[in-house]
């Protein structure tokens, strides 16, 4: 369900841009999906392939799904570490004063049109 909500937002943006650019059809879409964005890749792809059938420009659109690693930064020791492995606690100095730098977003990189 969660994946579907994001898919709908992505598709609406692409359909709008496709119309503005007066394209025939969108053949490929590249997305960067963060490891800690809460998106399950398999569900996302299923939802995408279901939802494009109802679009005007994206019926045959291929999805290129790039996973972006979650990286956190520690405010105490000023080092970074992989988030999914260590969570909120810094593995270098065990501080909890950390924040996520990358990996929480879903970014539309580009799309190919005919």
């Amino acid at each position: 369900m969660h994946e579907l909500g994001i898919v709908v937002h992505v598709i609406n943006q692409i359909e709008k841009l496709a119309k503005e650019n007066k394209v025939n059809k969108v053949v490929e879409l590249t997305l960067e999906v963060g490891e800690v964005s809460g998106v399950v890749k398999e569900y996302f792809i299923d939802a995408f392939n279901w939802a494009i059938k109802k679009t005007e420009y994206m019926k045959e659109c291929k999805l290129v799904y790039i996973t972006i690693q979650g990286i956190s930064y520690c405010e105490d020791c000023k080092q970074t570490y992989p988030t999914t492995e260590y969570g909120k606690e810094c593995p270098h100095c065990h501080s909890g004063h950390t924040y996520l730098v990358t990996g929480s977003d879903v970014v539309i990189k580009n799309f190919k049109v005919e």
Partner: protein
């Protein structure tokens, strides 16, 4: 052979919603309607808390409620019956959250011209509602004691996003392994600006504190 061209976007999937939410916040500010987004997991006591809170605030503000659910209208009926304020039900048609567009449609549906405080009771869920900005000026979540004190560790985003965390069903704390202090610490670790208020919507404990929080927050918002 046909020509294939690449169009670069480089924009977050949430960007269009964020823009819509900002526009909605500005529109509501101009009209003087304060919108509150209330989130929690199913069963944390959103509707009971809202009923108690509305009854304590309805002499001060002209209140409306939008109930968002995947299906049914039991919440809207319950709120209308127990508080007497205007309420509508929004169906999300299977979606697990509300976005700014749906919120705007709900506001148009309830007609906010005579309202200065509107509550949006979001779909019961700790994940998706946190990701989509609704355009509200205040984000609140309710965590209830039986859910456990580890929820801020498991669902960090919603705790990061909320201005106020209400800990409900505090009257049952003796029956559960809920460490209030530990819970408070983990919430503060994720969001040092969060206000935390323990309440019992059933007994009325803490409702006055939430009421005072609202009066202060809305006064500050008006002056901004």
């Amino acid at each position: 052979m046909s020509d294939i061209k690449t169009i670069t976007v480089n924009r977050s999937a949430y960007a269009d919603n964020d823009l819509e939410a900002d526009a909605l916040r500005e529109y509501l500010k101009e009209r003087g309607t304060f919108l509150v987004n209330l989130m929690s997991s199913p069963g944390a006591g959103k509707t009971t808390t809202l009923t108690a809170l509305i009854n304590s605030l309805k002499d001060i503000y002209r209140i409306g409620v939008m109930e968002a659910d995947i299906d049914s209208d039991v919440d809207a009926i319950s709120i209308a019956k127990n508080t007497g304020v205007k309420s509508i039900q929004i169906h999300t048609s299977g979606m697990c959250h509300l976005d700014a567009g749906m919120t705007k449609s709900g506001l148009d549906g309830i007609d906010i011209s005579d309202l200065n405080l509107v509550f949006l009771e979001n779909v019961g869920n700790l994940v998706c509602p946190a990701e989509f900005d609704t355009g509200a000026s205040l984000d609140i979540m309710i965590l209830s004691v039986p859910e456990g004190d580890d929820k801020p560790l498991k669902y960090p985003l919603i705790f990061q996003k909320c201005d106020l965390v209400i800990i409900n069903k505090i009257d049952t704390i003796g029956y559960f392994n809920f460490d209030f202090k530990k819970c408070e610490e983990t919430i503060k670790m994720r969001n040092k600006n969060a206000t935390i208020i323990p309440i019992s919507a059933k007994t009325g404990q803490g409702i006055d504190q939430v009421k005072q929080y609202f009066i202060k927050t809305i006064t500050n918002w008006k002056e901004k």
